[in-house]
Amino acid sequence: MSESIIWYLREFLRTEWIRKFLLAKTDPLVTPPYFKDYPTLTGKECTACYQCMMICPAPGAIAVLRHDDGWRPEIYPGHCIRCGLCVEACPEDVLQSGRVLEAQHRDRTGFRATFHLSIDREICMRCGNCCISCPVGREGEPDGAVLKIEKGGVQILNSDLCTGCKTCEVNCPNRGIRVARVVEGVQEAAA
């Protein structure tokens, strides 16, 4: 027992403790610069390549929308989980968050992705939601579409145009269309 009391006495008689006790001050409530907050726009031009939508792991967190002066990604707080993957995936540095962009430039890291579309003919009920919702090839040449309803079923026209944005997957009522997004994290060797 005596050891314990002496221990506590010694604990409370340390100069550091006394100083802290008398001059107690809560740490300032600052957000450190390295915190990955919601992605913000850097002001660079978005080319609507949908890489951010492709990699986003949370449902409904990001959408690339068309405004009067061009395309712009929109982040929805309440859905966004602040993982920072969209910042890393964006090839044009449109978004930034914390130190992610800085670290990416420093380490020359990035993601490389390939996409594979597959349609389950047995489940597909040919509603055409996927073709209508697909954001690729909206204007311009009519051949620039990824999907098309033809011969009584969905046909994949140009699978190399697919950006993996999974809009078709989300809009498909019965999971007939699937986009496999094979992503790998890569790093260029230091020059």
């Binding site: 050891e3 450190p32 390295y34 130190r99 992610v100 890291t109 094979v182 992503v183 790093q187």
Partner: protein, 362 residues
């Protein structure tokens, strides 16, 4: 089986001591607890069901959100399992950085567990001390990964961010502060008579019972089962030369002391890692492919098992997760709490096994 029972006491699902909902139903004679039944299902979200058919970049976040406290190890085990399936090699620098982040997460989790134990036995001073130390650890975690909890640091073939010289220096400085503080708090915990009254000899579990219920992690190691530490089988830890902490008492006190000792051990492991950190790239690339694997890793609470089956594009076909809390909660409620002499010790014994309901139910 019929037993003469005086009162049946339900504890939970909402209880001041418990941060997560779980319901214990204790059957008591006087104050002595005869047996306990557990009612789960308050956190069942069906994560394994929604994981199916998704690629790694989505499942990684779901795996992380199985448990918010030990999120890094869920991330690490899932990613290493995917690497095992696809045969992706990890650059040595990334492997060491993974260990650094994993050990920081382990420290954070252990300190939180000891905080809740001290809070439950109403030793609020020590509890608040520990919670403040945890903030320093979280700062270091945030410095490296960019977020405090749910860090999403590891990806197949490497890690997401490199560590700079300044970050490493700040990390070591933070660790020095943590070490100094935790050493004092360990001494406070070990020598305090009030804590000893509530902890020593309460909720004991023998080695046989621990093996029978497959208790893992600090709960198992406090009952003298040192071989349950799976870090012994991890290649990077083997390089670092690692011996598990072990105690023989098997009571609440031992479980908390094991966690304190492991925090100190983690600090030395991180120092070793930073000291030996090799130069080189942090990402090696490599796509996930088809395969099947059962992979295990050591979470802060014990052994974590992922069984994964994937298709040719790296999408998950089948996945089963076995988290350490399943074993520990079961061991706790059916072996430790039985014959606890007072109902007040039920909560403290339960908390001492570091239960994580979100893990258990997923």
């Amino acid at each position: 089986m019929k037993k003469t029972v005086d009162v049946s006491i339900p504890i939970g699902p909402m209880h001041p001591c418990w941060k997560e909902p779980i319901r214990l139903k204790c059957e008591t004679i006087g104050e002595r607890v005869l047996r306990t039944e557990v009612e789960l299902g308050y956190m069942k979200k069906g994560i394994e069901r929604i994981m199916r058919g998704r690629p790694w970049q989505e499942v990684m976040f779901l795996a992380e959100r199985i448990c918010g406290i030990c999120s890094v190890i869920h991330n690490m085990v899932f990613i290493e399992a995917m690497e095992g399936i696809s045969g992706i090699a990890v650059p040595p620098r990334a492997a060491y950085l993974r260990v650094v982040v994993n050990e920081l997460d382990r420290m954070e989790s252990h300190i939180l567990a000891n905080f809740s134990y001290c809070y439950t036995i109403e030793h609020e001073t020590l509890a608040m001390y520990l919670l403040n130390v945890r903030e320093i650890v979280l700062d270091q975690l945030e410095r490296i990964t960019g977020s405090r909890i749910n860090t999403a640091y590891m990806i197949p073939g490497g890690v997401r961010f490199d560590i700079t010289e300044e970050d490493a220096a700040a990390l070591l400085a933070g660790l020095a502060r943590v070490e100094e503080d935790v050493e004092r708090y360990t001494r406070m915990f070990a020598t305090s008579y009030l804590i000893a009254l509530r902890s020593r000899g309460v909720g004991t579990m023998t080695r046989e019972k621990a093996i029978e219920a497959h208790a893992v992690g600090p709960t198992g190691r406090a009952s003298n089962v040192p071989e349950c530490d799976l870090r012994l089988q991890h290649p990077t830890y083997q390089k670092l030369g690692f011996t598990p902490v072990c105690r023989t008492e098997g009571d609440n006190f031992a479980r908390n002391m094991v966690r304190f000792d492991e925090v100190m051990q983690s600090i030395s492991l991180i120092r070793q890692c930073i000291g030996q950190l090799p130069e080189g790239p942090i990402r090696g690339g490599g796509a996930c492919t088809a395969g099947e694997i059962t992979y295990q890793g050591e979470a802060p609470r014990g052994e974590l098992t992922y069984y994964i089956k994937s298709d040719e594009y790296g999408r998950i076909i089948d996945i089963t997760v076995r988290t350490p809390s399943i074993m520990n909660i079961e061991a706790c409620t059916h072996h430790m709490i039985n014959d606890v002499t007072s109902v007040a010790d039920v909560t403290s014994t339960f908390i001492s096994s570091d239960p994580c309901v979100a893990c258990t139910e997923r």
